[in-house]
Amino acid sequence: MPLLPPRWRLLFLVVAALSLPVIAGIVWLFLTGSFDEVHGLVPTGPLALKRWRFLWESIGNRPPIHVPLLNSMVFSVVVSVVVVTVASMAAYAISRLSFPGRSMYLGLVLMLHAFPAVSLIIAIFYILRLLGLFDTLTGVILVKASLDLPLGIWLMKGFFDSLSWEMEMAALVDGMSRWTLFWKIALPLVRPGVLALGTFSLLSAWGEFILPFTLIVSTRSWTMALYLQSFIGEVFTDYRVAAAVGLFYALPVIVLFLLGQRYLLNVYSGGVKG
C-alpha cells in the first residue's frame, strides 16, 4: 500500500483515535462473552461456553431465546417493509404531483423529522391503550414505523426528484396510468434508495429499545433489546452473561451492515442519485 499523503495521515490518526473506544468495546464484548476470566482486555481463563447456555435453556423466569429473537425479526422486517412502502408512495406524490397543501405538508414532514420522539411517549402510551394495542408487537411496529417515516419520505423524495420528467411523460404517452408508472418505472429506478431505506429502518428497528421498553410488558412480546436489558439488574449484573447475549444480539447487525453498507452510504449522502 502506498504511503498516505501527510494531511491524510493526520486525518487517519484522528479517526483512529476517535474509533478506539468503540473498537475496544466490541473487543471487550467478544472476549468477555467467550472466556472465563478477563482482566481488562486480556483473557486469563479458559474458553467458557456456559454463559451461552441461554441459547438452549430458559434462564430464570425469562422466555426461551427464540421468542425475543423471532419477535425482533418480525418487528424489524415489518417496520422496514411498512416504512419503505409508505415512504415511497408518499415521496412520489410529493415529488411528482401538485396538490393543495403540498408545501405545508413538506414542512410538516421536515418538522416531524426533527422532533424528539421520546417526548411523545406518554401520548403514544395513551393512544395505544385506547386502541387496545398496548403491550402488543403490532402497536410498537406502528409507532416505530411512524417515527421513521419522515426521514424515509425525505430520503425517497430526493431519489424521485432525480428522475427525468420526460421519461415519465414518455411512460404516460406509452399508455401507462400513474399507478403502473409508479410500480414499473419510477420504483425500479430508485432501487438504490429503496434498498438504503430498507436496510436503514431494519437496523434502526433491530436496535430500538425505548419504544418496546415503554410499550411492552409481557415477556411473550419481548424483543431482543428487552431480553438483553433483563440481564442488567439494579443490584447485581452478571456482565459475562450480558456480554454473551449482547454479542448474540449484535451479530445479525454486523452481518447485515457488511452486506448493506453500499446502500446505507446512500442514506448518509442525502439521496443523491445512486
Binding site: 420526460e166 404517452v173 399508455g175
Partner: protein, 348 residues
C-alpha cells in the same frame, strides 16, 4: 393515408399568471408533417404536450378527426412521442423499451417479438436490442425512441426536438430518415424544433411561434418568400433578412438621407423594408462602405455600413470587394418585403 387530421381551436395555456399559449387555432391535415418552429419559451412545446395529453389546456379544444380528445388521458389518445432526451427507460434493454407500449396493450408475445424485430431492423438497431440505453450510442438511442413511438402504430406522431442531442453529422442523416419513414407510414406528425434548417428540410408546412402566439403557418416557400410579419422575416432564413426602419412616402421608402423607390406607391407612414442578403447585389446605386468580409466557400457574406445600420449581402465569390472601400448596393426590386408600423406584411 392512415393518418388523421388534428385541429386546435382556441387552445390556451396559462401557468399561474404566465400565458404560455394564447388562443391558438391550427389545422393539421391527415398524413402531413408540420413543424412548430420558434425560439425557446415561445409555446411550441407547451402546445405539443397539450396535444399529447400531458398538459391540461386552460381553454380551447383539440380534435383528432372529428373526435374531441382534450379531456382524454394520454393513453386514450393514441399518440406516439419522441423526446429530446429520448426518455428511454434506463433499467430496461432496448427490446423491452420498444416493446413497452405493446406490453401495456397485452399484445401476445409472438406478435411483440415480430413487431419489435421488424421496427428495429427498419431503423437499423436490430443488433443492439439486448443492450440497455446507456450501452448504445446517442444515434441508436434516438432510433430506439422512434421505434418505441411508432410500434403501436399511433394516429399522431409527436417529435419534441428529436435531433438536438445528436452530433451534426448523424443529425443530417437522421433528419432524412425520419422524414422518409414518416412519408412511408403516412402518420400525421408534428415536429417541434428551434432549428429552422431542420424545419425547412423535414416539414410540409411550418408553424412559426413567438411569445405564445402563432405568427404564421405556411409552406417552406411561402414562409421564405412571403413572411407574414417582421418576426417571421427575421427568424426564417439564414443569414437573416435586412430590415430597414423608416417611412413610406410618394412611392419611396426613406430612412435618414436614404431614399429607395418601392413597388407599392400607395403606402404611407412608418414601416420597414426587408431585403434578404441573397437578393442584394453590389452593382446598384446606393452608396455603402464595406466593413466586414466573411468568405463562406461558395459565397461571401459582405457586411456594409448603410447610414446608421449594418446591411448584409451574400455576394458571389468572384465579386468579393475590398475591405474599407465604397460599393454601390443594389437589390432585386421584385424581392423586397414591406411591413407596416405594427410589423405586419403589407406588400407585395
Amino acid at each position: 393515408m392512415k393518418g388523421i387530421s388534428v385541429r386546435l381551436e382556441g387552445l390556451t395555456k396559462h401557468f399561474g399568471k404566465v400565458v404560455a399559449l394564447q388562443a391558438l387555432d391550427l389545422d393539421i391535415r391527415a398524413g402531413e408533417m408540420v413543424a412548430f418552429l420558434g425560439p425557446s419559451g415561445c409555446g411550441k412545446t407547451t402546445t405539443l404536450l397539450m396535444i399529447a395529453g400531458i398538459y391540461q389546456s386552460t381553454a380551447g379544444q383539440i380534435y383528432f378527426n372529428e373526435r374531441r380528445v382534450d379531456h382524454l388521458h394520454p393513453r386514450d389518445r393514441d399518440v406516439g412521442m419522441v423526446f429530446q432526451s429520448y426518455a428511454l427507460y434506463p433499467h430496461l434493454i432496448l427490446f423491452e423499451n420498444i416493446a413497452f407500449p405493446l406490453r401495456l396493450k397485452r399484445t401476445p408475445q409472438a406478435e411483440i417479438e415480430q413487431k419489435v424485430r421488424q421496427a428495429a431492423d427498419l431503423l437499423g438497431i436490430g443488433h443492439v436490442l439486448d443492450r440497455r440505453p446507456a450501452q448504445v450510442s446517442g444515434g441508436q438511442q434516438q432510433r430506439a425512441a422512434l421505434a418505441r413511438a411508432l410500434i403501436k402504430e399511433p394516429q399522431v406522431l409527436l417529435l419534441d426536438e428529436p435531433l438536438s442531442n445528436l452530433d451534426a453529422q448523424i443529425r443530417l442523416q437522421a433528419r432524412g430518415e425520419i422524414r422518409r419513414l414518416q412519408q412511408q407510414i403516412g402518420v400525421t406528425s408534428i415536429l417541434v424544433t428551434h432549428d429552422q434548417a431542420e424545419a425547412l428540410a423535414m416539414a410540409d408546412r411550418i408553424a412559426v411561434f413567438s411569445m405564445g402566439k402563432l405568427q404564421q403557418l405556411a409552406t417552406t416557400d411561402d414562409l421564405y418568400l412571403r413572411p407574414a410579419n417582421v418576426f417571421v422575416a427575421r427568424f426564417v432564413g439564414h443569414p437573416p433578412m435586412n430590415l430597414l426602419e423608416g417611412g413610406f412616402e410618394n412611392g419611396h421608402f426613406t430612412m435618414g438621407t436614404l431614399s429607395i423607390p418601392v413597388p407599392s406607391g400607395h403606402l404611407k407612414g412608418g414601416g420597414s423594408l426587408g431585403i434578404r442578403p441573397e437578393d442584394a447585389t453590389l452593382d446598384g446605386e446606393v452608396p455603402a462602405r464595406v466593413v466586414v468580409i466573411e468568405p463562406l466557400g461558395r459565397e461571401t457574406l459582405v457586411t456594409l455600413r448603410l447610414g446608421e445600420m449594418d446591411f448584409k449581402v451574400l455576394a458571389d465569390q468572384a465579386a468579393r470587394p475590398t475591405l474599407g472601400t465604397e460599393v454601390r448596393l443594389g437589390y432585386r426590386r421584385d424581392r423586397v418585403h414591406l411591413f407596416d408600423q405594427a410589423g405586419k406584411r403589407v406588400a407585395p
